[in-house]
Symmetry: C3
Subunit: 272 residues, 3 copies
């Protein structure tokens, strides 16, 4: 799997897929920049009027409900259905699912109306979507919801099988499952949780990797999370990093510089 | 007061309050990151449909009209009223009040319909709200409006008493008043005025500090402005700072690293 | 021309023009910061209700359709017409024109209804607007569309004459024409194409420079692109630059520090 992930990183740089995002306005700049840094091309377009045109150009779609409003719900739906028809992978990031009925209902509706290929969230969001009790406190994962890796593995596997998609739970240990095979990633650094947008950026990376290799969605998802985790480790070790601001800068540097060899050698990847 | 401010900074890190923002899309990422850097958790949610749900989870509300539009006016109103009912402090940042009738009228309406706990703006915005002549030039303070510290002290005190809230005027010298007690802060650096978002970030910090200690609003407001001012001084002294970009990075670093002891020892705080 | 550009850079710092932006939410923070860095003052305001008030205060208008939606189309139109009446230069950045019918039609409509003073885009966008075949792939220029400098010069000149405005095509070599005189700029660095927002920031710089000197639109446009190109070169040479994140930081540093003398001495400017 490590070798495959390294190969998939090279593919994204060769193919430079266009990744259509309908996402929140908090972290949209980070998402565009991380998409470029990994070697893909971002387009952020949320108007219903252009959903079909942009979908026709794009290799992947990222739907992120971080600042959901009623205007973009139909845009997300139309873009999702169009991506499904075109065979472009759809990544769904249910930011804050459980924090409001609006988000919970939109998440439910999208999962029903769109064939989501990869569902990526934190443990609180994924617990909520799985129908389990969840102490969602806003958009960050609740510590009460982080129980054990075994618990996350069980949820990811069961939900992936139930929804027929890949489920990626990110946290101190990331868990990725397609219902059959489940992998754990132990890369990363606690600093990734102290700046905004690292979750959203993971979803963008999943879109980029899977957009380049739409037949390798499990590998692409794992490769994306490895990229973020390893980049976080590299960023933290940078000489100039002195706090949240310089860590963020170093993270973008690391993603733009990471190569297949580093990805393969630094990956802390385990079958669950 | 310095000791209290130091204690309040520790409280925000212990309690990690959720700070609901309905804010502009220009500086929203900076606001989310500075909220995390000081130790709180941000949630940016502007849909009317979820205003009540998000308010129910949150410890403070920040309303910022930097890119106001008609869709979010009812959201701000609903969130404000809900925060009032829940006893969560409401920070109002009247960005550009005076620059357009829309902003001026929205500011007036919010101050009438919502019990604003802390009003934070630059001298031009506060003069406008106080009903004084103001030469607002966009969203930055007009130099013509910066007369003397005595003038700012008078306005802050009078307006605070009139509105029954805390008024915080930020500038080269910050002035904070609850109508009874008025404090001046002489921390900061001119570079803070050369990057976008430092005013908005001050409002986010006020939300974080006051959300953690809702019974200490004057102290929380002063602590927030001290944090930004001292962080600006620290950032400017950083070896790698060579211009606006690296100053911004260093500012986020400094806020994420500042501790209670530094806050207390570096504070340049005077009773007016 | 180099001397004039240097003088125009000094003018923007003396006059500090207010630059009204109706722009996308992806790069809006970068645009605000680069406007401040070059010495002007940004105001981002997209509500129709305040379009006229903000126009009345502003020295230039930047319209950017990077995340166009139906709400802001009338705002852009109203602000454009008001800026025309006031004699404030209007910069139009047709981001992604050709990528969707919505963007293409909006671009066409704005060019018909508003007297655009400076049209700035990449080669794919400008080819599309000129009615030539264009392989627009999202918001980045298509390599197929980058043929030769002679080709870009021909298109810029012809389109400028036809539309009666300045046309600025940015890329490895920038081409700026008012229909009569055409200039090429060979400053810049490939890294500028690897982070998001450098095109948008160019448009903001054009707004700032032309807002300060509305009688010198060709010079102002050239000065703006020289500023970005030279800043990109300076940023790349910075010791701490290790990837996309630190390059972006260094770019903002360089724009905030660039002086008239550097602009004049580093300019690689040729008459076409």
């Amino acid at each position: 799997m490590k070798e495959l992930c390294a190969e998939l990183l090279e593919q994204v740089r060769k193919k430079r897929p266009l990744v259509h995002h309908i996402t929140n306005y908090v972290t949209v700049n980070e998402c565009a920049n991380i998409t470029l840094a990994v070697g893909a091309s971002p387009i952020m377009a949320d108007a219903l009027e252009e959903a079909l045109d942009i979908s026709a150009l794009s290799s992947a779609l990222v739907l992120n409900i971080g600042t959901l409003n009623e205007r973009v719900v139909p845009s997300m739906l139309a873009a999702g259905v169009a991506a499904n028809r075109a065979g472009a992978p759809v990544v769904f990031d249910p930011v804050g699912a459980g924090a409001s009925r609006m988000r919970s209902e939109a998440a439910k509706m999208f999962l029903y109306e769109i064939k989501v290929d990869i569902l990526r969230g934190n443990i609180s969001e994924i617990r909520h979507i799985a129908g389990l009790d969840s102490k969602t406190q806003g958009v960050d994962a609740s510590e009460d919801d982080m129980r054990s890796i075994a618990d996350a593995v069980f949820i990811a596997k069961e939900l992936a099988a139930r929804l027929g998609c890949i489920v990626a739970i990110t946290g101190a240990t990331d868990v990725v499952s397609d219902g059959g095979r489940t992998l754990c990633i132990r890369n990363g650094h606690p600093m990734l949780g102290r700046i905004t947008g690292t979750g959203c950026m993971c979803s963008s990376l999943v879109g980029a990797l899977c957009g380049a290799s739409p037949d390798m969605l499990l590998g692409g998802s794992v490769a994306a999370l490895l990229t973020m985790g390893i980049a976080g480790e590299i960023a933290y070790k940078e000489a100039g990093v002195k706090g949240n601001g310089s860590f963020r800068t170093a993270l973008h540097d690391a993603v733009s510089r990471i190569d297949a060899r580093t990805l393969e050698s630094e990956a802390k990847l385990y079958e669950a």
